[in-house]
Symmetry: C2
Amino acid sequence: MRVLYHTPLHPGCRKVRLQLQEKSLAFELKTEQTWQRREGFLRLNPAGEVPVLVEDSAVIAEAPVISEFLEEAYPEIDLLGTDAFERAETRRLVWWFDAKFHEEVTRNLVDEKILKRLMRSGNPDSQAIRCGHANIGYHLAYIAWLCDRRTWLAGDSFSLADIAAAAQLSAVDYLGDVPWEDVPGAKDWYARVKSRPSMRGILAENIPGFPPPDHYADLDF
Amino acid sequence: MRVLYHTPLHPGCRKVRLQLQEKSLAFELKTEQTWQRREGFLRLNPAGEVPVLVEDSAVIAEAPVISEFLEEAYPEIDLLGTDAFERAETRRLVWWFDAKFHEEVTRNLVDEKILKRLMRSGNPDSQAIRCGHANIGYHLAYIAWLCDRRTWLAGDSFSLADIAAAAQLSAVDYLGDVPWEDVPGAKDWYARVKSRPSMRGILAENIPGFPPPDHYADLDF
């Protein structure tokens, strides 16, 4: 059986979950509270980070590594594109959301508002939160700009770029911190993403003590 | 003609340069001082970051995206490995050096000691420098541990993992900040890397006002 170790709201874990679902690959989800540094988990990944995928007896850690592995091992449902240039464009956007959006938005909002409390590692930094709110608008505008020119973020087909963006945005949306009404083009894209069966597990997530806002799981938000 | 925009000492640029050389792909190298935010360069990559590869009329930005593109477009000389699990192991180590080593070592030493002066963006942070020196030992020990079990970092063949590690370590070595004598196994690995023709350009690099130590380009260091 394929097992994915994850932490709720973690965008890298959400990305791999969505990718597994889109590729119709069955898996068991195990929650790992990485900050507890459980010995059995550290034996799997000495870096102590999620996501970790265990498949046959192989252990694959780190979201970007797992993503490339899944595309190579299971090419039947392709989420990158057909030629090298198309795939480079998909990966450019994956990198944009994994690195840039994460650094400028998700880290400032999700990590500050929820992760710090779960880990009991200090108080939210209000300046970081202000930065996160200021930055998210540019990213939503970029999504709308891309969708004005393309069906999905990287081109004609739903791809790992849409998955990477949805992984970040769904985590921020769990806090109710995405100003969807300000950017209709981005909202329309996210409505299409939300209606995909692969999103069900993520939209059903509920962290004890931190319930999501009503619109979080609502397909007609 | 293929053009690579780079900044001297930038590990992501060094990684792509080494990869192009190892794959015997000709390219012209253009130096970009990204902090000057030159308009012609921003048109190529609005994020304003190096490396940027221009090939035919396609523009490919960000080191991890360029690396995957080169492996897909030019598979004749393969730097990832043959099966999906082998490739996952190579990518795990690439990620280790690109992200973890960079964050814990290179950023604390190269960015603080040289980049800040070139960019005129403040004084070196002595606490960061102390962290960089403290962290590098663990990474050298890890390289030695891997080379005790394998010919090269990811397995029997020289791979993108060795390139990613050399890209980071050569930049730190330019400052004379790698304690090679403390970890003979890592020194032996780097001596083998240094003797490869692909390293010539990087070992010949010389930043005006910041000459490297004598051993930097010496194959018998």
